[in-house]
Amino acid sequence: MEFTLQRPEPGKWGAAVFSLLMHGLLVAVLFYGVQWQSRPPAAVSVELVRSLPPASMPETPAPPVKEVVPPKPVEVKPVEVKPAPVIKPDIAIKEPEKKKPEKKKEEPKPVPPVAQSKPVTKPAEKPPEKAPPMSRMEQMLANEAAKAGAVNNQNRLNQAAADARAKQDALNAAASLGSATGDWMGQIAQKVKSNLMRPPGASGNPVVEFKVELLPSGEIMGEPKLNKSSGNSSLDEAVRRAILKSSPLPKPTKGEVFQRELILKFHPLADGE
C-alpha cells in the first residue's frame, strides 16, 4: 500500500518528454487546422461573370436519369369536362412587389375603324366628376405623397447600399480564391441562373439550397438534394428544374479545381442585374 503511494517512477522523464512532444504536435495540428479553416468561404455572385459566354454544351446528351415516377393511373372522367379541382398553393401567395412592369409600348393595334360607336354615356353616378384645379387639400395630399415617396426612396437606397456591400464582399472572397475556381463557379452560376424561371406568386427574399453530385464530365448524378427549402414548393421545384436543365454543368479549365459535391445556394428573387 505504502509502496504504491511512494513508488519510484522510472518512466517519469520519458513520459514528460513524450507528453511535451504530443502537446507540440497538437499545437501544430491546431495551427494547420486553423490555417485550413481560415480559407475564405467559397462564394461568388453571378454578376461577376454575366458577360461570360454560356457554358459549352455537352457532347454527350442524355443525362442518366434514375428517378422513376410511377405514372398516375389513367383517370376516367365523366362526360362533361370538369374543371380541375383548385390546387391549393402550399403557401400564401403574395404578389411580387417592386418590379417595374415592362415598359412595352402598347402596340397601336390596327383597330378596324368602327363607325358611330360613341362611348356609352354613363347614367347616374360613378364619381368621376371633373377634378377642380389643385385645391389646398390636394396640395397637402400631394406633399404627403411626395414625402412618403422620399422615405421609400431612402429605404431603397439603403437597401441597395447594403446589397452592394454584400456583393463586394462576395467579390473579394471570390478574388482571393484561385481564379480557376472562381471562373468555374461563375460559369456554373451563370448557366443555372439562365435556366431558372421565377414562378409567379413568389415574394420576399427566399433562399433555396441544393446539393448536387457531379460526374467528372460535369453531368449531375441523380437528383439534386434539397438542403434548405424556401418554404414555397413551386419555387423549390423551379430551382430543381433549373439545376437539372443545366446538366452537364460547365467543367473547370483546370481539372484540379473540380469538386464532386457542390452546394448551390439560390436567391431567386434577389436582383441579379
Partner: protein, 437 residues
C-alpha cells in the same frame, strides 16, 4: 514484480495516449478537407418562360375544332409558357417519346394527345405530359367529351398542364362577364376567359352596368335601366330567374358580393347623397354603412370579408377608403395622387388595384396594402373597371382604342399584356368570374 507490471501499464497507457492523439490529428486534418465543398451563390433568375411542345393531337379531325390549338393559345397567353414548334419531330401519344430529341429542340416539357371515337357519339381523349429534362412522364389523363367541346376540353387540358408546370391553378376554365353596346342595344355577355364563345345573358334597349359575379359563379348581380332608373337585379345563370335586389328611391348601383355570397354591398341615394349600404342576398336587412357629406360609392368586399373598400370624395378629391364590413371607423387607403377610384382587392387580400389619374391619364394602378407602394401597370389613357382573375395574377379591364371600349388584360408582374376579342361593339364593365367549383 508489481513494479514491473505498473511500469508496463504506464507504457501501455502512454502508447494509448499517443494513439488517441494520432487519431485526433487525423480527425482534425481530415475534417476541413471533408467540408471543403464549394458553395455557389446564385442571385436572381434568367428565364422568362418554360418552353413547351404541344403538337397537334392525333385524331383531332374527330372534333369540330383543334383542341391542341386551344391549349397552345391558352398557355401562351400567360407569358409563362412558350410554345415550341415540333419541327420534324414526331410525337405519338402512348409511345415513349425521344426525350433527348425534344430537349434538343428546346422543349422542357412535351404534351401529347390522341382522340378516338368513343361510345354514344362521344370521343375519348387521352393526353400525357412529359418532362423531357428528366425524361419522365408527369401525368396521363383521359376524358370523354362531345365532339363540339373542343374549347372546354382545351381549357381543361391547359389547366392541367399549367398546374403541373407552374404550380398554380390555371384560369382557363373561368368565365368573364361584360357589357356590349351596339347601336342602341345593350347585351350582358358571358364568355370564356379569353373573350371567345360569348353568350348573351341579357339583352336590353336600356343601359346595363356593373355586372358582379357571386362567389360561387352561379349568379350575376347587375344594374339595369329597364325601368328608366338604375335598379339592382340578381340573375341566376342556370335559369332565367331574375330578382330585384334593390329598387329604392333615387339611384341603386354598384353591387358587390360578400365572399360568403350571403350579402351584397351597394350604393344607394335613398337618403340623399350616394352612400354605401349592405343587404342580404334577397334584398332584406338593408343597413347603411357610411355616413359622409360626400359621395361614397363603388363598394368592394375584401376577400377575408372583414372590410369594404369604397371610393369617396369626402376629403376633397376622390380617394379610396375602407370600413369594417359590420360598420365602424373609416380609414383612408390611397394617398398618392389626386384621383383614385374603382378599388379591387386581390384574392389574397394583399394588393389593391384601382384607377388612378396620372397627368390626365386614367390608368390601372397597383398598391401593396402593407407597404403602400404604388405602381402604374398600364400606359393607356382611359382605363376603367379593373377586375382580378381568381388567380390574382392577371387583371381584366376596359380601356379605349379607336374611339370604342375594348377589353384588355395585364398581369401584376407586367409580363403579360393582351387585348381580348374584336367584338364589333363598344365593350365595357368587365368582371372576371371565380374558379369553377
Amino acid at each position: 514484480m508489481g513494479n514491473k507490471i505498473t511500469e508496463e501499464l504506464q507504457y501501455m497507457m502512454n502508447f494509448k495516449k499517443a494513439f488517441a492523439a494520432l487519431l485526433m490529428l487525423g480527425a482534425l486534418l481530415s475534417a476541413p478537407l471533408a467540408s471543403a465543398q464549394l458553395t455557389i451563390e446564385i442571385f436572381g433568375s434568367g428565364a422568362n418562360s418554360i418552353p413547351l411542345a404541344a403538337p397537334n393531337f392525333a385524331g383531332e379531325a374527330l372534333m369540330q375544332g383543334s383542341v391542341s390549338e386551344v391549349v397552345r393559345k391558352d398557355l401562351a397567353l400567360t407569358g409563362l409558357l412558350r410554345i415550341v414548334e415540333p419541327g420534324n419531330l414526331l410525337g405519338v401519344e402512348g409511345v415513349q417519346p425521344d426525350h433527348a430529341a425534344w430537349k434538343g429542340r428546346g422543349a422542357d416539357a412535351l404534351l401529347l394527345g390522341s382522340i378516338n371515337p368513343g361510345q354514344g357519339g362521344l370521343v375519348d381523349v387521352r393526353f400525357r405530359l412529359y418532362d423531357t429534362v428528366r425524361a419522365t412522364e408527369l401525368f396521363v389523363l383521359k376524358v370523354s367529351v362531345r365532339p363540339d367541346q373542343q374549347r372546354a376540353l382545351g381549357h381543361h387540358i391547359a389547366n392541367k398542364v399549367y398546374e403541373k408546370l407552374i404550380g398554380q391553378p390555371g384560369i382557363f376554365s373561368t368565365r368573364i362577364a361584360y357589357v356590349e353596346k351596339q347601336g342602341s342595344r345593350y347585351q350582358l355577355l358571358i364568355s370564356d376567359f379569353d373573350g371567345e364563345n360569348a353568350v348573351p345573358a341579357l339583352i336590353s334597349q336600356e343601359p346595363i352596368m356593373s355586372p358582379a359575379w357571386s362567389p360561387d359563379g352561379k349568379r350575376l348581380a347587375y344594374v339595369s335601366f329597364d325601368k328608366k332608373k338604375p335598379i339592382i337585379y340578381v340573375r341566376a345563370l342556370d335559369s332565367v330567374r331574375t330578382t330585384v335586389l334593390a329598387n329604392y328611391k333615387g339611384s341603386n348601383s354598384a353591387p358587390s358580393w360578400s365572399p360568403d355570397g350571403r350579402r351584397l354591398a351597394m350604393t344607394l341615394t335613398k337618403d340623399g347623397l350616394s352612400q354605401v349600404y349592405v343587404a342580404n342576398m334577397d334584398g332584406s336587412g338593408l343597413r347603411r354603412l357610411t355616413s359622409s357629406n360626400g359621395i361614397d360609392t363603388e363598394p368592394q368586399w375584401s376577400p377575408d370579408g372583414n372590410h369594404i373598400y369604397f371610393t369617396s370624395d369626402r376629403g376633397g378629391s376622390p380617394q379610396i377608403y375602407r370600413v369594417p364590413a359590420d360598420g365602424g371607423a373609416v380609414q383612408r387607403v390611397t394617398f398618392a395622387g389626386a384621383y383614385n377610384v374603382s378599388p379591387r382587392v386581390s384574392p389574397d387580400g394583399k394588393t389593391l388595384v384601382y384607377i388612378s389619374r396620372n397627368d390626365g391619364r386614367f390608368q390601372i394602378t397597383m398598391q401593396d396594402l402593407a407597404s403602400q407602394q404604388t405602381q402604374a401597370l398600364t400606359d393607356s389613357a382611359k382605363d376603367e373597371s379593373p377586375s382580378f382573375a381568381p388567380d390574382g395574377r392577371t387583371i381584366l379591364y376596359a380601356t379605349e382604342a379607336g374611339g370604342r371600349g375594348v377589353l384588355s388584360v395585364v398581369s401584376t408582374d407586367g409580363r403579360t399584356r393582351y387585348r381580348l376579342n374584336n367584338r364589333a361593339g363598344d365593350v365595357r364593365e368587365p368582371a372576371w368570374g371565380p374558379f369553377e367549383k
